[in-house]
Symmetry: D2
């Protein structure tokens, strides 16, 4: 493999807090190792339209604390076609980009895997998604911020739930993964947490709500958006039917979970992984996602990282049961 | 009127941040003037069930910073009947309560007005509602906190909207009043603010969104929940129909707007009005809401306070237009 | 006076949250009225060095929520000399700037008053300072954010003070004004508030601390940095000497009070005043600070605005006494 | 060992956010396993004065989100004497407490180790300290909240530093440990991080500040309070002497770092460890601190946990160097 001289960096898929910290880390460490850096806007879309620009230290000044991504992100249907990828590759060549750092989630890495193989361009991935649903890293960049946003919101909802003796069903993000629901549910002191990885036993849920109702003035049920029965409104309907005398409300937290200044841990995670991604490229690595496992930098082939079978630690569900009693 | 010896205090209607600061102010200032204080739980409901207790300094220690209301709040159908109110009055007499401070909004004051006249018990009101829809005070307790919660949420939504070049329609609270929408819309830099007090010109809205679209990467439209056409989802539908190529999303902020630690201004407002409510009762006042108008304490008869025709300053809508250009 | 075609805008003196919202409002409303806008960096210093640039809509995109000032701010000794001001004026002429909006506090307006008279250039001021120490406006831009930052910090300190039964002396900003101390003291539930406008009676303070100590587990005393006896450490020393068995700590909040995203009210205030400043210039006004008094736009000659005798409402000190009992 | 029937729980040493979540977890899981729970106020001091009370589910309702500790904390000189510990033990016996969960740091565990051995009472510890300076757990309860508080404060300071082109020296907590400084320094984008574990090379620091100064408008140096040369003010002095033309300021963040609502991760950590502590006691464990290492519950003898030689990952210092360039 020829020596790398110019690293392209892009964000793709759903945005996550800490993506800017990740971009900054890639840019600054590439410059530290005397590489050029090319910013690519709107992910694969920008490769195809040629929306690229040279980045220097100042390009990433004062962004570590900002939510969103200065490189923007977008879907690209054209990149799913061989013709689209060909155009993308030619644009990269035109800009002398000879290696890539892809920041995103499973869709991003699926594209990177194919693209890297087709054109022999070395690509390393950084896990940037609030869902924490990738193998090969203990945490994804954005997850910690998202769960803090959730508990801040649920703390507020608890204030009004307590005042009115209400039951709230709160829907959080996580289409295929209950990890946001699980940790935020424990931290919010929720009575129950309903996640796609675990079949909901309605009778057990009703029993729990009834039992607790006797001496608790408010209740919170956290539902992951991907939970089978149809989300928070569906559960709201079922609970109202079963307990018509409860004052039951539904709240869908929505897109606030994607924004805001990244937490300290997300910034540190993005910084460490960003440096390791650049160093990994210089070491000849490619086709892998860089993560942190048990405190150490770890490289996982794209095909393994996106396998989507992140296990739920059963201890967590038990803790919800024990502590909300 | 006999001299007051025991002040009852209650919160009623929708809860608002700063109600605890209001309770604290009433309790501490009543004690300062050597009165006894009786806390009544769940508003008029607690009067009827006799859910009352003696309060001292410590009853309100360390609550000024907490959202919600330690006295809780509830609806009471029974209090709407003469029989219910008779029971309530007898419970107050049994507890030696000879004056009341009612913290809440228009429903609270409507009840207070009738009850005070029927039984000759002096009642003063404190404006506690996030909606800011009462006459006789520049701001209601809870409004400032709510609009800060809204802009914190919209700032987060802006992060993700910018990253994806999206248009977001954000629904905020305010069933009959656009005041939350108006100030938070200016502060969030929204492209448009749709409120019940002003008929929405759909063509003007479309024109504005189209025009701005040319060179703005994201857009925010703030809709008050009471806005005629059916709220954020209805507007989302109309906008998607008109601009099928926009990436349009809807977010309903919901009950987070009712909770959280009260802002500094809400705590100061609650503290000043609480002291003035107790002093007003001692001065023989009754049947009035205590507010702050142009920086000075002001007393407004209940029937005027709840007239619901709070004017919208037309300058504000013009400012949205000028600044989001 | 010739018609205005090009408005220069600058920030000067200590920075305050909301200055960016103020700049945005000036730029966007000037463009709305078909004026050109010139941004001047580092206040009077930038006039002298000629650090100016043309601003358009995009120059102020996505800044309404940011602390600090994108135009930066600095002291300028040279501007205090007639020679310095001559250079400044010539640079303005060279850039075709024929009117100015000055965002800052008393130092800013003192400079603006002299400069405007010397060269006949119309200048209007916007009150941007966390201290709230200007006449002609109920609130200065930045004050509301600063007092919210203070109570957020004191809420945190209260957590640890409660846990350890400690007395904390917390120093807040306000060199010549106790207004930050006063409102944040009420809102933080402080036992005492010591401000430059009111002579501190040490015996009364000791009495208060002793009395309260009997049944309160923690205590907070708020001291304005300009308070006579030498600030928080001096009071810490006196209190430790008088009450050697108290666990007394000092915390100086410092520069966190100048930063952070501006509150909703500060953004609205900056937006309204910014529009009014541009409209005022178009109406031929000059030599005045634009403020909001009792909800309405108000214009005050610079010499009156900076008179520094903002009265302290004695009610506020009484409220501290009553409510912390 | 006889079967455990009544678990006593206490917090001791410096308080940390998440201690209330820890108490809640111990109480609720002990009740889940049909044990009685005794709360002990002010740590070892409360054992000696007999300040204990029976706790039920409601004793810990609605506290998971609160900073501080509802059981309070204090130093106890008397507990350092055999006579003091004898009294403590007799008070525990009188209250039928036959096992203990100690929440705190090294001082807490040193006391627990001696006490447990002297009287054969089983004690397990939970790591509650913002300093993260214990072996046997990846993170201590409170650390994550503290570093988030630090970066929130430094983000605010950066706003004003940028506006004035200033250099700020920010002192954070960590008397013997630079771990707060290190992670928050990376996350705040600091130019340099000075910690007790690594000797500061003044010339290198000066070189770094000089080099960066050329094209960076603001600078942040993070200093751990335990750093050798005497803290932030001493460094401020040295830097002002070396760079008289820099506008250099010092800010000591102080006790805000100990308070505030715990972060999601701190609440989850406290919840998991609390359940494991009770389960560990039931399994016959004693004399150990319960922690989480690489995601799994881990038990470490007290004498090892407090060894105070937590290693600093050298990668972190290198990351500061690379990314602040």
């Amino acid at each position: 493999m020829a020596q790398i001289k110019n690293v392209g960096v892009y964000t793709s898929g759903g945005d996550a807090p800490g993506m800017n910290a990740a971009i900054r880390a890639v840019v600054r460490s590439a410059l530290y190792y005397d590489l050029n850096v090319t910013g690519i806007r709107r992910g694969y879309e920008g490769m195809i339209t040629g929306d690229m620009f040279s980045m220097d230290r100042k390009s990433v000044a004062n962004i570590i604390q900002r939510g969103g991504t200065i490189l923007k992100t977008a879907r690209s249907d054209q990149f799913r076609t061989p013709e689209g990828r060909k155009i993308a590759y030619e644009n990269l060549k035109k800009n002398n980009v000879d290696a890539l750092v892809a920041i995103g989630g499973d869709g991003t890495f699926t594209g990177a895997k194919i693209f890297g193989k087709e054109f022999g361009i070395p690509i390393l991935g950084m896990p940037g998604t609030i869902d924490n649903d990738l193998l090969g890293t203990d945490f994804t960049i954005g997850y910690d911020t998202a769960i803090n946003t959730v508990i801040d919101a649920v703390d507020k909802i608890r204030d009004t739930a307590e005042s009115h003796d209400r039951l709230f069903i709160v829907e959080v993000m996580g289409r295929d993964s209950g990890l946001i629901a699980l940790r935020s549910g424990i931290a919010a002191g929720a009575e129950a947490v309903l996640i796609p990885e675990s079949k909901t036993d309605l009778n057990a849920l009703f029993h729990r709500l009834e039992q607790g109702r006797r001496d608790k003035s408010s209740k919170i049920v956290i539902v992951a958006e991907g939970e089978e029965a149809g989300g928070a409104f569906e559960y709201g309907h079922l609970i109202k039917e079963r307990f018509p005398n409860y004052d039951t409300r539904v709240s869908v937290l929505g897109h606030i979970q994607r924004g805001g200044p990244p937490s300290c841990m997300d910034r540190v995670l993005a910084s460490r992984i960003g440096v390791a991604a650049v160093e990994g490229l210089l070491d000849g690595r490619h086709g892998e996602m860089v993560g942190i496992v048990n405190g150490e930098i770890s490289y996982t082939p794209f095909e393994n990282a996106i396998k989507h079978n992140v296990d739920i630690n059963p201890d967590y569900l038990k803790i919800v049961d024990i502590l909300s009693l």
